[in-house]
Amino acid sequence: MGTSRFPPSIWGGDRKRSAEPLSQLLLRLMSLRGRGLWFRRPERIPDAWAGSGSPTSPSPRAVELLFAAMQRHLGSYPLSPGVRVKLVSAGFQTAEELLELKPSELSREVGISKEEALETLQIIKRECPVDLSRFASVSISGKKYTALELLEQEHTQGFIITFCSALDNIMGGGIPLTKTTEICGAPGVGKTQLCMQLAVDVQIPECFGGVAGEAIFLDTEGSFMVDRVADLATACVQHLHLIAGSHLEEEHQKALENFSLESILSHIYYFRCHNYTELLAQVHLLPDFLLEHSKVQLIIVDGIAFPFRHDFDDLSLRTRLLNGLAQQLISMANNHKLAVIWTNQMTTKIDKNQSMLVPALGESWGHAATIRLILHWDQKQSRLATLHKSPSQKEATVLFDITAQGFRDVVVPSPLSPPVEPSGNPRKRSRDGREEE
C-alpha cells in the first residue's frame, strides 16, 4: 500500500477519523490482513506466555499479544521527535523492524548517533511485555522451511475425495488441502452439486480415506438446498456402511457410529451473504471462527462471481477487493491447512469475431486459484470435467455424472478393461468399495 502510515488508532491511539465509505474501510482492513502480518506464527514463545498452549503451539491469546507488541507503531513510543522523524523517513514503522537490528546497524541506517540508537532500542524493549531479545534475531515473519520438509508435508497432506474416481485420479487424489481450487462452469452443469458433495465428503472418517473435518459454506446465490444435502449425506452414510460391512476390522464400524445424517448436517457451517460487502466481511471474520472451530478443513464460497458482477462502476476497485479476498483465502488455506473452493461463472468473450465461453471476473482473476476445474457439456449432453490448471497434475478431461446419490462416475454399461491403475496414494484402498457401483 505504498508509504501509507500504519493507522495507530487500530492499536489504541485516539486519532479521530472522518466517516469513510464501507468499501474503503474494508480495503484498509484487508490491506492490513493482506500483508500477512496477522497470520504469521512465531517460532518460539516464552513459557510464561504459552498459557494453555505449548511452546510449539502457542495459545491463541499469546499469539495475539505477541503480535500486538511487535506490530506496535513507533509513533506510540516515547521517543524524541528528532529520532522519530528520522526513523520514519528511513522507512521503519513497527517495533519488529527495529528489533532485528543491532544499535550500530541502526545508527548507520537511520543517521542517528550510536547513543541515540541504543537508547531507542532500550525504550522499545522496556515497553514490551516480554523479553523480545530472545528471538530478536529470529524474524517473526514466517517459519523457515526446506524443500525436503515441504515434500514430506505434501506426501502426507490429505485430499478430499469427490466420489467420482475419475476426477479424483486426474487431480492426484481429490481436492487438495492447503490449496485453493476454482470450479467454473455454465449454469446447471453441477458446480453447486460438487460443492455440496464435498461439504459432505470432507467429514468422512480417516479410516475410509477421508480427512474427518468440518466445512464452512458461504452462499451468495441462495442455491444451497438443505434437502439435497440431506440426500447426499444419507447416500454417503449408506455407502460407507457397505464398505464397512466388507472389512473385518472393527475400527470401521466404530468410526461410523458418529457418522450419521445429523452429525454431517450439524458440521456444515452455513453463511448466507447477500452482497459483496457481506461476503468480504464474512471472510474477514473467518479466521476468528476458525480459531474456535479448529476441525474445519474446507471452506466453500458458492458464487464468488455473482456479488462482484453488478454494482461496480469502478473496475479497479473490484480488482483490488477481489485480490484482497483471494489473499485472505489463500492465507487461511495455508495457515489452517484446509482446502478452499470457490465457484465462478462463465461469460462470453468475443475474440476475432468468434465468441467463446471463458471464466468470469477477468484474466487477472485466473491467477487467484492454484487449481482450476472447468465443468462443461459435450455434444452428446454428457458432463465433462477438465482440469485446466494444476501445479502438479497434467491437464485432463473426464466424464462425470450427477445421480440421485450425488456426484459420481459415469456408469459404464458393459464391463470394459480394468479401472485406472491407482497412483502411490496410500488412501486408495478405500476406493475398492466404490468400483462396485
Binding site: 455454465a186 452443469v189 453488478h310 468470469a360 457439456w377
Partner: protein, 275 residues
C-alpha cells in the same frame, strides 16, 4: 374483521371503526398519509397500525397475493376472470364454499412496464411496498426478454449485460429478503448451429434455446422449459382423440431436481397434468 383481536390501542380501534374500514385488506390499500386523513390518527399511531396489520396478515397467510408485471401485451383480464370463475372446477380437492369466499381478483396486482426504466422502478420501488406489507408473496415478470431484446442492439451488449445483472441482483434481494419466489418468463430463440448452445445442455435437435444468453442464465436458480408436443407423439389417447394439445414442462437445471419432465394440458379451467 374483528379488530379487537389485534394488539391495538383502543383509541386506534375506535378510529378504524369510525372510518368504516372493515378488513385488513382495506387498511393496507391506503398509504400512510391517506390513513392519517381517514382515521385522524397521528403518524406514529398509523405506523403502528400498519405494522400490526401486516404482521397479522403474514401470520394469517390467507390474504396474500401476487404481483404480475407485464411488459409485452395488455394483461389478459378476460382470461383471468374465466379462470377465477371456473376455479372450483379445477380444484375439486378443495370445498367449494372455501373457494367461493376467496376474492382472487383483489389479490392480483397488475403492473405494466413498457420500457426498462419502468421495469426497474416497479421492481425497486413498487414491488417492495407490496411485499413489505405482506400483500404479495409472488412476483411474476412476463416477460424479461421482451424489453431487453428490443432496446439493445449488438453494439450495446455490455450495457445490456449490466442491466441484466443489476436486475438479477435486485430480484435476488427481493426474493431472499421477503422469502417470496420470483417467476420470470423468457422467450426462446432459434439455434441454427452449436455456437448458440454454448454452455447449455440443450440438443441441437431442440432447435430453440433460451433468449438473453448466458448473462441471464447466470442470474437464475432454476430454469424450466415448456414446449408443445406434436399431436402424433402424445401418449394421452384421450387428448389425441379430442384434439387437445399436450404440452411438456421440463427441468433444464435446478440445484435440487434431476432433469425430468412432465406433461400437462391447458383447458378452460386452467392447467391440468396429463399422463
Amino acid at each position: 374483521m374483528d379488530w379487537d383481536q389485534l394488539e391495538l390501542n383502543p383509541k386506534v380501534i375506535a378510529a378504524i371503526k369510525k372510518a368504516k374500514l372493515k378488513s385488513i385488506k382495506e387498511v393496507l390499500h391506503f398509504s400512510g398519509p391517506d390513513l392519517q386523513r381517514l382515521t385522524k390518527l397521528s403518524s406514529i399511531d398509523v405506523q403502528h397500525l400498519l405494522k400490526t396489520v401486516s404482521l397479522a396478515l403474514r401470520n394469517n397467510c390467507v390474504l396474500t397475493g401476487a404481483i404480475y408485471i407485464c411488459t409485452e401485451d395488455v394483461f389478459p383480464d378476460k382470461r383471468l376472470q374465466q379462470l377465477i370463475a371456473l376455479q372450483h372446477q379445477l380444484r375439486t380437492d378443495v370445498p367449494q364454499d372455501v373457494i367461493k369466499k376467496i376474492k382472487f381478483g383483489n389479490s392480483i396486482f397488475i403492473e405494466h412496464a413498457a420500457d426498462i426504466d419502468a421495469l426497474f422502478e416497479c421492481v425497486t420501488k413498487r414491488a417492495p411496498i407490496l411485499l413489505s406489507r405482506g400483500m404479495v408473496r409472488l412476483i411474476i415478470i412476463d416477460s424479461i426478454a421482451a424489453l431487453f431484446r428490443c432496446e439493445f442492439g449488438i453494439q450495446h451488449s455490455i450495457t445490456k449485460a449490466k442491466y441484466l445483472q443489476t436486475l438479477g441482483a435486485k430480484l435476488h434481494q427481493l426474493s431472499s429478503g421477503f422469502q417470496s419466489p420470483v417467476l420470470c418468463i423468457n422467450q426462446v430463440t432459434d439455434t441454427v448451429d452449436e455456437r448458440g448452445l454454448a454452455g447449455t445442455n440443450l440438443d441441437v435437435l431442440a432447435r430453440v434455446s433460451p433468449a438473453l444468453g448466458i448473462t441471464w442464465s447466470n442470474q437464475l436458480l432454476m430454469r424450466l422449459m415448456v414446449s408443445r408436443l406434436a399431436r402424433e407423439l402424445s401418449r394421452d389417447t384421450h387428448a389425441a382423440a379430442t384434439g387437445t394439445v399436450v404440452r411438456t414442462l421440463s427441468v433444464i437445471f435446478a440445484p435440487h431436481l434431476p432433469q425430468s419432465c412432465c406433461h400437462y394440458t391447458v383447458s378452460a379451467e386452467g392447467v391440468k397434468g396429463a399422463e
